[in-house]
Symmetry: C2
Subunit: 273 residues, 2 copies
C-alpha cells in the first residue's frame, strides 16, 4: 500500500508531518483521531515521526484516542509501544510514557457507583420492589429500588431518577445514610454503593414494565423482618441504620453544592450538616 491509496486525511502529510495533538497540563500530548479512514502505513509513518518529534520536545505522556471505526489502527499503535489505558463503547484510549522516569499517568477509573433508595412515607411504610431479573428473581424478596449512577450524574440525582423509573414515585433526596465499598464486583472492578434516604412526593405506584415485577408500600417492620434481610449481615446493618434514621437518632451526609475554585465547576460535598 502507498499513501496514495489513503482516501481522506485530516492529518498533515507523511512528508515531515506529525499527528496533530493538544498539549495537556502535565507535559503530555493528546491525539484524537477523527473517524475518517486512514491508511495504516501512512498512520505508522506519521506516528513514528510524531514520537521522534515529541521526544525531542521533552514530552511525557502521549495519549492516542482511536474511534472504533478505525480499529485497524489499534495493532500498529501497540507495536509502537503503546498500552491500553481505557475504553468506552465508541473509542479506545492508548497511552505511552516517553521519559525514562517512572510512568505517572493517572490510573483508569476503578469503581462503579450504585444507589439504594430508602423511601419512607408518613405512615412509616417503605417503598419496595420485586425485580424481574437478577439474583432475586422469583425469590419473593422485597427490596429497596436500586440502580447504577450514570456517567456524569450526581449520586443524589441518580437516586431520584431510579425511584421514578422503577416505581413512578416522585421523591426528594435527603441524605446518604451509609455506603459500602466492595471489590471484584464485575471483572476486576470495584463498587461503591450508597444508601440514600428519600422523601416521597407522590403516592401512586406505577411499576416499570421492563424490570420490575411488583412494587408496593410496605410497613417498615415487615420489610425488616424478611428472612432475607435478617440473614445477611450487610442488609441487617443497613436496615438498623434506616430504623435509627426513622426514629430520629441518626445523621448521615447531605449534599452541599460547592465550587472548587480551580475549575469553577460545581461539585457536591457530602457532609454531616
Amino acid at each position: 500500500m502507498s499513501s496514495s491509496t489513503s482516501p481522506a486525511l485530516s492529518v498533515p502529510s507523511v512528508d515531515g508531518g506529525v499527528l496533530e495533538g493538544k498539549n495537556d497540563d502535565h507535559g503530555g500530548v493528546i491525539v484524537e483521531m477523527t473517524n475518517e479512514p486512514l491508511d495504516p502505513v501512512v498512520y505508522v509513518s506519521l506516528l513514528k515521526a510524531s514520537l521522534s518529534h515529541w521526544e525531542q520536545q521533552g514530552k511525557r505522556g502521549i495519549w492516542i484516542k482511536i474511534p472504533i471505526e478505525l480499529a485497524n489502527l489499534v495493532e500498529p499503535t501497540v507495536k509502537e509501544g503503546f498500552y491500553f489505558h481505557h475504553a468506552e463503547p465508541k473509542y479506545l484510549m492508548l497511552a505511552r510514557w516517553l521519559p525514562s522516569t517512572p510512568n505517572t499517568l493517572p490510573a483508569n477509573a476503578s469503581h462503579r457507583v450504585g444507589i439504594g433508595a430508602f423511601v419512607l412515607n408518613e405512615k412509616n411504610e417503605v417503598l419496595v420492589v420485586q425485580e424481574k431479573s437478577g439474583k432475586f428473581r422469583g425469590t419473593g424478596v422485597w427490596k429497596f429500588p436500586t440502580g447504577v449512577v450514570e456517567e456524569g450524574e450526581d449520586i443524589c440525582d441518580a437516586a431520584v431518577r431510579e425511584v421514578k423509573e422503577e416505581t413512578g414515585i416522585d421523591s426528594k433526596f435527603l441524605e446518604i445514610l451509609a455506603f459500602r465499598q466492595s471489590h471484584q464486583s464485575y471483572f476486576e472492578k470495584s463498587d461503591l454503593f450508597f444508601v440514600c434516604m428519600m422523601q416521597p412526593l407522590s403516592e401512586d405506584i406505577q411499576p416499570q414494565e421492563a424490570e420490575i415485577e411488583a412494587a408496593q408500600w410496605m410497613p417498615y417492620e415487615e420489610y425488616a423482618a424478611q428472612p432475607f434481610v435478617q440473614k445477611h449481615e450487610l442488609l441487617r446493618v443497613i436496615s438498623d441504620t434506616c430504623l435509627a434514621k426513622k426514629n430520629g437518632s441518626y445523621s448521615g451526609f447531605s449534599p452541599v453544592p460547592t465550587t472548587t475554585g480551580f475549575s469553577k465547576k460545581n461539585a457536591y460535598l457530602y457532609v454531616n450538616t
Copy 2:
C-alpha cells in the same frame, strides 16, 4: 493466509469448532483469549461459528477479552459487531448483545476514587505537604496528603498507605468526614474524593523523595488561614468540617466490616456509629 500458518492454537480447530467460553450468571458467555498467537483468518472463522452457536443457544451478552499481545484480533472482532466495553493496560474487553431486546450489559466503571488525609496530632498540629508536581508545584501551598485508591484497595487502607508513602508517618484510620463527587475530572470520568480523619502513630517525618518537596506538622489554625484554603469554597467547607471534628462536635462515617452473605466476601460499610 491459511490456517496452517497458525503457530499454536489453544482453541478448537476451525472444523465445526467454536471458541471456548464460560457461561456467566446472566445468560451470557465470557471468552478469554490466551496470549498465544492466532491466525486472524482462523479466529474469524471460529468467531463466526461461535456466534451462530451462541445464537442458537439463546445466549445474551457475549464478552471477548483480548490480551494486548493479540491486538491484531481487535479489528476482526469489531467487524463481527462487537464494541469496546472496557480496557486495562494488558487487555481490551469487547462485548456484543445478541438478543433483539435492549442491551442490559453493565456499564463500564465510571469513577476514580481518591483520598485526602486529615492527620491531627495531640498538639493540634496537622500533617501537611508541598508537592513536587501538579498544579500546586512552586505555589508554597501546604496541603493534606492525597492520593488515588488503587484497584481492589479499601478506602481506609489507601489513606494509611498514602500518609506513610508521602510522609513516612504511621497512622490509624478513624473515619470519613466528608466526600465530594465531581465530573469530567479526566477525560469523561468522574471522581469521588474522601476526606479521611487519621490518628498519627508516629512523629518523625520522612518526605517521599519522588513526589514531596517538603512535609511538616503545622498548627491547624495556620493551615486553615492560608489564602489558598480561604479562597476556595470547597476547601473552606472541608476545613470547617475538620475543625468541627477537632472540637468534638462532628461525626462522620466509620468502617464496619460486613459480609454480604451473597458472595461471602468481606466489604466495609461506612456508617455513622
